[in-house]
């Protein structure tokens, strides 16, 4: 059975809630009563539950199987996190309650901040960024603030490797910088010498992902940091791939100045189909004074104090200001802290180790059937990358991905990073068992074999999904972004 839209099934006369009658009072709406129809259909509760339950079953999810999207860290989302986030003291408190009535909430912020600082060996942390890209922006704004503070306003360039996430250049541009690419070595790492050559008085800093999106640890990270610092710039580290090193390597030991941490990747908060995320940013001593509002500080008496607009003038004159209303993604903080406490320092180290082991296992189990451009560069970190070299004429990474759907798996990240042709970036995460990896490897070997042999059925895959390949071109050319009643729509034409 196909599931219709709520607009096709529901009615504006139906409601799935019972609401007490409004007492009769004279309206004080300033004469702005909404008299025209809104057009919001309602469904009774049984119909609502059924509609969304049916819809949900058209989704793939980590609860159903391996979700090897490279750079996305689709790991298991523990159910304890969900239980904790729903405790009334967390779920049912208002962000503007008097500070005395929310000491437990600030304690969560403080405790999580402490963990993140110790795990990264950094000086300070901004908790409020709402997601990874927002965290990047936070870091870049700290850099810009620091440059302005020292009157160094001529530095307009931010250097970004070609393999970077799209958010990096977008963020730098958003903050008013110009973006230039850093070249890579053939083995997939930043070309240190080329970088050094480009550094100078116009360079504000670099944005580097480490481990990088080719799945490699930037071996020269410390040297890069030193060179950038020597040239008067700052080092931003994209922490999207922190999962590979959490609990095992502290980015602060590598000289970076700022790094965001995706709580929804490394620390298991649910992705929920595309968000919410949460992107706290750890900062070096050099950037710490510029951290955005608000933040929490612990007083001598142990009570927690909130620094917002009110007191910032005295205590933190260089803060660059507020990035969002309220305090950040509290609901994600509770989940991330729950996860961190569950694992502990030893468990997190094991997370990094198992995630790297799983990725290497995939890399070495597939490199005979798929081209692994950086296979010879040594062990990968928590993701393995392959290219489309060697597929039969006319067969692409897309075909492999769609065929994997028919095998019961979510495909890997396709065509990213851009530096690898037809890239397939596979990140299994540590929460996959060996049995699960073996199944996936078997499926991918079979698909790769068929793609090399030129099996035409691949091109029309998937065959067994809720939908066949969708026409994205039509969607973009004549966008239909909201539902329109076909009767009315026709009448309008």
């Amino acid at each position: 059975l196909e599931e219709p839209l709520i607009f096709e099934r529901g009615s504006v006369d139906v409601t799935g809630v019972d609401i007490e009658d409004a007492p009769k009072v004279a309206s004080r709406l300033g004469g702005l009563e909404r008299n025209r129809d809104i057009g919001l259909p309602g469904l009774s509760e049984p119909e609502t539950v059924r509609h969304y339950t049916r819809l949900s079953r058209q989704n793939y999810a980590i609860d159903l199987g391996l979700f090897p999207l490279g750079s996305c860290t689709m790991k298991h989302n523990p159910r304890l996190n969900e239980r904790v986030a729903r405790m009334p003291g967390f779920a049912d408190v208002h962000p503007l309650q008097p500070v005395d009535t929310v000491q437990g909430a600030f304690a969560v912020v403080d405790e999580l901040a402490d963990w993140l600082l110790k795990l990264t060996n950094m000086t300070s942390i901004a908790m409020s960024p709402k997601a990874g890209a927002h965290g990047e922006l936070c870091g870049v704004l700290c850099i810009k603030s620091a440059l302005e503070k020292r009157g160094d306003t001529e530095r307009k360039i931010v250097l970004v490797p070609e393999s970077a996430h799209g958010t990096n250049p977008a963020t730098a541009a958003f903050a008013g910088f110009k973006v230039e690419n850093i070249p890579a070595t053939p083995e997939g790492r930043v070309d240190l010498e080329a970088l050094k050559a480009r550094l100078g008085p116009d360079v504000a800093g670099v944005m580097i992902t480490n481990p990088n999106t080719c799945g490699l640890f930037e071996r020269d990270m410390k040297a890069i940091s030193d060179a950038v610092h020597d040239a008067g710039g700052y080092v931003y580290c994209d922490g999207a791939n922190f999962n590979a090193i959490v609990g095992r390597v502290r980015p602060g030991d590598l000289g970076i100045d700022a790094m965001h941490i995706n709580l929804h990747k490394t620390f298991s908060t649910p992705h929920g189909g595309g968000g919410p995320g949460s992107g706290p940013v750890v900062l070096s001593e050099a950037l710490a004074p510029f951290a955005p509002l608000p933040f929490v500080t612990r007083q001598a008496d142990g009570s927690l104090h909130l620094v917002e607009e009110e007191t910032v003038g005295e205590d933190h004159p260089d803060s660059f200001g507020r990035m969002t209303a309220f305090h950040g993604q509290m609901g994600m903080f509770t989940r991330a802290l729950t996860y961190i406490l569950s694992h502990g320092a030893d468990g997190l180290r094991q997370v990094a180790e198992d995630s790297v082991l799983n990725a290497n296992y995939i890399l070495r189990s597939l490199e005979d059937v798929l081209e692994a451009p950086f296979g010879p560069s040594g062990p990968c970190m928590h993701e393995a990358i392959f290219s489309d070299a060697g597929l039969a004429e006319g067969f692409s990474t897309l075909d492999i991905a769609k065929a994997l759907i028919d095998e019961g798996f979510h495909p890997m990240t396709m065509y990213f990073p851009l530096v690898v042709h037809g890239a397939m970036l596979i990140e299994p995460t540590e929460t996959e068992s060996k049995g699960s990896l073996d199944q996936f490897i078997g499926a991918l070997r079979s698909v790769a074999g068929r793609a090399k042999a030129g099996d035409e059925t691949l091109k029309s895959a998937p065959h067994f999904a809720p939908r066949r390949r969708l026409d994205e071109t039509q969607a973009a050319r004549k966008p239909m972004l909201v539902w329109k009643d076909p009767v009315q729509a026709e009448a309008a034409e």
Binding site: I38, I62, L64, M74, F326, G328, G344, R467, W483
Partner: protein, 452 residues
């Protein structure tokens, strides 16, 4: 290590396949000085589920939760009853643990829901179309300002003094770096919003006027004239809605001519959560679609001609356009959007109107009751479920006193504008359907005592 499926035997076999003697061999690229032999020091080791639950429960109980007190806070975050089925649905593993729907063939659940959400939000806000959510209202507001700049190629935005001060702060922070010029100001404790003054200030350099509706003090005013004034100068009108339930009773900004309507969806289905995650709303007129930030879902067909949904117009986005994108946004707030969408589906137009009517009526009753308290003056003539009172003394300590007595009385304007003496006696009081008669009595008697 309950979340880690590998056994030591597995690890041994896998290392052998990989050709590494130990796990350390896989970390050879990490420089010596950055390696540890064991866990990172000064941090506790793993703990049982029971121990973690106990610890977090202890922290949770150090907060006074809204359900345990007469509760009147609003100012951008509202406490409404969320039906149990909303939470059930967002906990379906297929929604909760899915990623961004990059593979539409196996993500139609999320995609269809996003398409429905876009339609619901567009209708609620009175616009042609809406995106599939932003981080929250404050960041959506800033995105609207930058979008207006792109559309009009002008850099000056006029922000109403009735705009939530956190939203203003966010915009000010960003503008410092982007070079946008913002005109802002402090609100006055009067019955009328600053609409007239805004109209006066629009000029040929103005990219947009940003106005909140109802505003931070709870006041409502007709935006039609303001919209006309904007359009006369080829500027855009950006309206901000922080309490979407209001639009079950009040005309939508889009109906009154707003070009972009942004908002905070939290009030419907999401819950308070101490401020996040919330659900940013972003809607606009059809002709502006290619300048919109954020994810969009569109209808299309599959290879067999069946209707399906995909992410579309992604040429606006950072993963394609990189430094030329309309925004650096990647993550959105889909799970919160789902919660909001489910709540809207349960309500339907009928339920939403009933809910709004009840909120308004209860707020009216409360305002009337408080107006009789010596030392309390109700500022608003018009409001939805939130209004401002001027106390005979500074509001912030009054709020703290009442909190000590277990009454969460509202948001003092001193909390929002710590330096503005003219606002110090202001208190914003929100009254939703969750407020009981006993709650109103507790607030009334608390204020009577505090102001005596």
């Amino acid at each position: 290590m309950r979340y880690l499926p590998l056994t030591d035997a597995d690890r041994g076999e896998m290392l052998a396949r990989v050709g590494a003697a130990t796990i350390d061999d896989l970390f050879v690229d990490v420089p010596e000085h950055a390696r540890f032999d064991g866990p990172i020091p000064n941090l506790p080791l793993h703990a049982s589920e029971m121990a973690v639950e106990r610890h977090m429960g202890r922290l949770s109980r150090q907060n006074l939760s809204a359900g345990d007190a007469p509760f009147f806070l609003g100012c951008g975050a509202y406490r409404h009853h969320v039906p149990a089925s909303v939470d059930h649905i967002i906990q379906r593993g297929e929604f909760l643990t899915a990623y961004t729907p990059y593979q539409p063939e196996i993500a139609q659940g999320t995609l269809q829901m996003m398409f429905e959400f876009q339609t619901q939000v567009a209708r609620l806000l009175g616009c042609d179309l809406a995106n599939a959510s932003m981080y929250d209202g404050s960041t959506a507001c800033w995105e609207a300002i930058t979008m207006a700049r792109r559309v009009t190629r002008r850099a000056k935005a006029i922000l109403s003094s009735g705009l939530h001060p956190h939203y203003v702060s966010v915009a000010n922070t960003m503008a410092k770096f982007t070079g946008d010029v913002l005109e802002t100001g402090l609100p006055e404790l009067t019955a009328e919003p600053d609409t007239a003054s805004l109209i006066d200030r629009i000029d040929d350099d103005t990219s947009c006027v940003v106005v909140q509706y109802p505003d931070i003090l709870g006041r409502v005013s007709d935006l039609s004239e303001l919209a006309a004034a904007c359009h006369a100068k080829k500027a855009l009108l950006v309206a901000v809605v922080t309490e979407p339930v209001a639009l079950g009773a009040l005309k939508a900004p889009g109906e009154m001519g707003a070009d972009i309507v942004v908002g905070e969806g939290q009030a419907l289905g999401v819950g308070l959560q101490f401020g996040g995650p919330y659900c940013g709303l972003f809607a606009c007129s059809e002709k502006l679609v290619r300048q919109m930030p954020g994810r969009l879902t569109g209808e299309t067909v599959d290879a067999e001609g069946k209707r399906g949904f995909v992410l579309t117009l992604s040429t606006r986005e950072q993963h394609i356009r990189r430094e030329k994108a309309t925004s650096n946004i990647c993550t959105s707030s889909v799970l919160c959007a789902l919660a909001m969408s489910v709540h809207m589906t349960l309500l339907g137009e009928k339920g939403l109107r009933q809910l709004a009517a009840r909120n308004h009526a209860r707020a009216c009753q409360t305002a009337d009751r408080l107006a009789k308290v010596p030392g309390v003056e109700v500022v608003n003539d018009s409001f939805f479920n939130e209004f401002t009172v001027k106390l005979s003394k500074e509001a912030r300590p009054v709020v703290r006193d009442l909190a000590d007595k277990g009454v969460l009385a509202g948001v003092s304007l001193g909390r929002l504008w710590p330096d503005a003496e003219a606002l110090a006696n202001g208190l914003v009081i929100a009254v939703t359907e969750t407020v009981t008669d006993e709650d109103i009595e507790a607030l009334t008697s608390g204020l009577e005592e505090a102001l005596a």
